[in-house]
Amino acid sequence: MIDRRELVVGAAVLLGGLALIRAALELAPGTATDPLGPRGFPFLLGAGLVACGAIQLLTAVRVGGRTVVTPSAIEEETRLPFSSRRVSGAIAATAVYVFALVPLGAPLASMGYALALLLLQGRTGRREAALTVVAFPVFVYVLVGVLLGVPLPTGPLEPLLRGIRI
């Protein structure tokens, strides 16, 4: 019996190792004063990944045949979800948040981001939602921007917040 997912994972690790070896060979070779050179260590790491990938492939092929991987181990490894609408939405919202941080300013961008994440996850009480969307971003701004003195971007709120920095 073959565990296809583990087979793909093993193949990916092996190919990643080969790609790393190839990339390492394009780096400068060793010299008399530095025998290993910039390429040596990444080359060894690539070889290590190739070995791990090969073992993983063997393990995936032999699962179910002999006692190579215990059933509980497989269950543990396959228990977690790999993808979902919520998680991809959260990643997209975070990417927008990161790049909106400077133009919108930390307080406004954080409020919008918190609202987006809460809507994405659903089922939140009004009080908790208000605290998370309004109070928490304000708290973080006060903590980092005011008390710790980090000049966080303020965006359109600059005229309002200019005077309250320590």
């Binding site: 025998p35 290993l36 791990c52 959260a90 089922r123 939140t124 710790l148």
Partner: protein, 498 residues
């Protein structure tokens, strides 16, 4: 002894005391929140230490680490949900005691015994670090390289069910450490022409991504059930001296097990379960274990804290982190311009002893702080996962941005959050990647210097007794699961053939 006293006095400055209290409070709350473990609580606070001096930053992290050890036990005892993996053993008797209406006493025993265990382990750390560094100072580059390879054996304890994936995760971390200007030749490697990558990935951004962002993405993808049945009237009840005398055996067992496991780098979850089993074996009332025994709370909680100080021995003496939390302490040192490694104590005596002083003090301060903050923790234990994930994501991104006022750093945190989430989903270990990332710089540097000494002959690594011993030990530890499986497969093959 003088250094220790000076360290305690230095840690007792106004800023030091404030840092200890804030760290303990944050750590306790973080540990109590399901989804945030000790290393995550420490990682989240790491960027905020940037504006502090190195000593205050380390004092703060000492508080967070100690607080998280206790915080994890609060939901374990109250709602049978461990806040951290190390607290899982506290469920066995702690929750039984809570069902019997003795949750306050169980929390008190957890606090006091944990404090005793933590204190003893820090004393051992202080006793061991000096002599160990003297030994290591005599090491050459081949020995130091072998030591870093041996340090990678920690991977076997953080890699989960698949050691192969754990090793691959660690190699990924080592690879990340090579990004940027090469440390000897000064040539750019794997920068893809991006000038912002010349100095490599921001260590803190990567750590926050792998530890905090990835875990929150997991929480968003797979939210756990929200606990609703919590007894909000619970107050911490400290054990009396007489009760403590009755717990001496389990506290001693917990301390010894925790310290041994801590040095070996096997981590809190291992130490607390081993301590529970050993305490049961040595107890005169072993029949009470599992039915609400105070000894059953004391032993794992002592062990859980006892591995804290000793886990720092290899980290501070050798620059080799033996746990994710120790890796974060090393990252904090790097963030503040202090290079971990064999010369750490010699060059930063005052800083390290201030840290040790703080580690001793937080073991005492956790008693009032832990008791006072219990009510807040009980409220937060019932917070919806959606709210928790949202708050931590905001804090992670703002914290990473605040490091260098750089959108690129925040983007790196997101990138490694996604990478960490994918790694977890596929059974890889983000913690092993962080260990590799922290060790990579030293490992490559010492390997290249070894090759320089031997004029490129790799036999230098096998010609010295210390290096060959360390490398063979590392190979045995890392390959043990694979060898065991191979032997089992051979045996089953022979059995079926006969």
């Amino acid at each position: 002894m003088e250094d220790v006293l000076r360290g305690i006095i230095a840690a007792l400055s106004l800023s030091g005391i404030a840092a200890m209290i804030v760290g303990l409070a944050w750590g306790t709350v973080g540990g109590a929140l399901p989804g945030i473990s000790g290393p995550q609580a420490m990682a989240l606070l790491l960027p905020l230490t940037f504006g502090l001096d190195a000593a205050t930053a380390l004092i703060l992290l000492a508080g967070v680490w100690t607080g998280a050890n206790y915080g994890g036990s609060i939901p374990a005892i109250l709602i049978r949900t461990p806040g951290t993996a190390s607290s899982a053993a506290a469920i066995l008797d702690g929750y039984e005691l809570a069902r019997q209406g003795r949750a306050g006493k169980a929390l008190g025993v957890s606090l006091v015994c944990g404090s005793i265990g933590g204190f003893l382990s820090v004393v051992l750390l202080i006793a061991l670090i000096g002599p160990l560094q003297q030994v290591v100072l005599a090491f050459g580059s081949p020995e130091l390289f072998a030591l870093t390879v041996f340090g990678m054996t920690v991977v076997s304890t953080v890699s989960g069910p698949s050691i192969t994936k754990g090793i691959a995760s660690a190699i990924f971390g080592l690879l990340l450490a090579t990004v940027g200007l090469d440390q000897i030749a000064g040539m750019p490697r794997f920068t893809f022409g991006r000038p912002e990558l010349l100095s490599g990935f921001n260590l803190i951004a990567v750590i926050i991504g792998l530890f905090a962002v990835s875990e929150m993405l997991r929480l968003i993808a797979e939210p756990p059930d929200r606990p609703t049945q919590v007894d909000r009237r619970v107050n911490t009840e400290f054990p009396t001296l007489r009760e403590l005398r009755g717990l001496w055996r389990s506290t001693l067992v917990g301390s010894v097990v925790g310290m041994i496991v801590g040095v070996a780098g096997a981590g809190g979850p291992v130490s607390s379960f081993v301590a529970y089993g050993e305490a049961k074996r040595w107890s005169k009332n072993r029949e009470l274990f599992g039915k609400g025994s105070m000894e059953g709370v004391a032993a794992p909680e002592t062990a859980n804290n006892s591995d804290q100080g000793t886990a720092l021995v290899p980290a501070l003496a050798l620059g080799i982190p033996s746990s994710p939390s120790a890796a974060i302490i090393l990252a904090a040192l790097i963030l503040h311009g202090v290079q971990p490694g064999p010369f750490l104590l010699e060059r930063n005596t005052e800083l390290l002893f201030t840290f040790f002083g703080a580690l001793l003090l937080v073991q005492v301060l956790i008693l009032p702080v832990g008791a006072l903050i219990l009510r807040l923790c009980i409220e937060l234990v019932t917070v919806r996962p959606a709210v928790l994930a949202t708050a931590v994501m905001v804090l992670s991104i703002i914290g990473t941005y605040a490091l260098n006022l750089s959108v690129a750093d925040a983007a790196v945190a997101l990138l490694f959050g996604v990478v960490g989430y994918a790694m977890r989903s596929l059974g890889f270990s983000p913690a092993a990647t962080v260990l590799g990332l922290v060790l990579g710089f030293i490992m490559e540097g010492e390997l290249r210097r070894s090759m320089l000494i031997s004029l490129g002959d790799p036999a230098v690594l096998l010609a010295r007794p210390i290096t060959i011993t360390l490398l063979v030990l590392a190979a045995l530890v890392l390959l043990r699961p694979l060898l065991a499986r191979a032997v089992a497969a051979l045996r089953s093959g022979r059995a079926s053939a006969s």
